[in-house]
Homo-oligomer: 198 residues x 2
């Protein structure tokens, strides 16, 4: 990239290191940033550095937050006896967008994946078990419907069952609006097994 | 985005304001940044702010650079008597990637677009005319093949012709590897008009 001066090349390179940002997009973003008002560049840059400095795990549910307790764990209107276990903070956000879930969460930050060397001790599982010492009615396992997600769900349910706490798994089946002909066989079989009476 | 804490929401919002970065991508990038080592976040952030602070126009060709003269204008091996006129710095980069162009450039930073209220005085055209006072053999107009690019090319050629300097326009036609059946009629007609003897 000799045709760009040093600082422009460096900016393109730094942006290009972000996931899903290819060489062309990095160039486009770099020139956009160079054309932005200086205060806006400052704001973007500060947002990154400050978030990185201050963001930590919520001491209750382990989601990422900038305070000791996340907004959900702090909320007294939520049902703290119902815990939904998710793999990541974005999965939590996905359920929050539905606006219908009244309980709290537990973020594992990963899933058990023996092939990748990720075991039960590499995710926030011990921390989940500690939370169950308090008064909990139900643990809803909402890990992904992938091999790792299912393995993790299985593992957690075996761990919790002896405590007598109710453990459930979110349903797996045909997505709403999904066209049967385009859906894979495994999903179709799951949908059949999970059929409910009308 | 109440389900994310304030600083995370702010980071997602700042990233989402960049062109081509939608809500989902902004979220993905934000969490990636939060997981990056602190030094790397610092480097990305500094690259933005520093580039914004130091990048200015090359005093010769008006491309973006962090020094008085860009690397191309500083290069004595280039032919400074041949000037390629482009709309933006990225167009310059596109031609540099071919590695075959030996001349220098002039970056207009836009094109004449009467519909958008952009006239000849809103682009670096006066600056181009000033450069022609020096010893110049040829001006190659490489504005885009769009309505605005063609208008600008026409305008510039009329302005330069009286000076006696040779003015050329890059060829317009079927892209290499292009399948005729998928190419629009205007391009096909251009390719026909611009045919050369074999």
């Amino acid at each position: 990239m000799d045709y760009y001066s040093k600082q422009i090349s460096r900016l393109i390179q730094e942006l290009g290191a972000l996931p899903g940002i290819g060489a062309k997009t990095a160039q486009r973003l770099a020139f956009h940033i160079l054309n932005m008002p200086a205060e806006q560049v400052q704001a973007l840059s500060a947002a990154m550095v400050e978030a990185k400095q201050n963001v930590r795990y919520c001491k209750e549910c382990y989601t990422l937050t900038d305070e000791e307790l996340c907004p959900i764990c702090k909320d007294h209107h939520r049902n703290h006896k119902m815990i939904m276990v998710v793999e990541g903070t974005r999965d939590l956000a996905a359920y929050e967008k539905t606006g219908k879930y009244e309980g709290v969460y537990h973020v594992l930050h990963g899933a058990i994946a023996p092939m990748l060397g990720i075991g039960p001790n590499d995710i926030k599982l011990k921390e989940l078990m500690q939370r169950l010492a308090k008064d909990v009615d139900e643990v809803i396992i909402a890990t992904n419907s992938s091999l790792e997600g299912e393995t993790t769900a299985m593992y957690i349910s075996k761990l919790i069952k002896p405590t007598g706490i109710k453990v459930t798994r979110i349903a797996s089946g045909v997505p709403v609006g999904g066209d049967l002909e385009y859906i894979d066989e495994v999903t179709l079989l799951r949908a059949l097994e999970g059929r409910t009476e009308l």
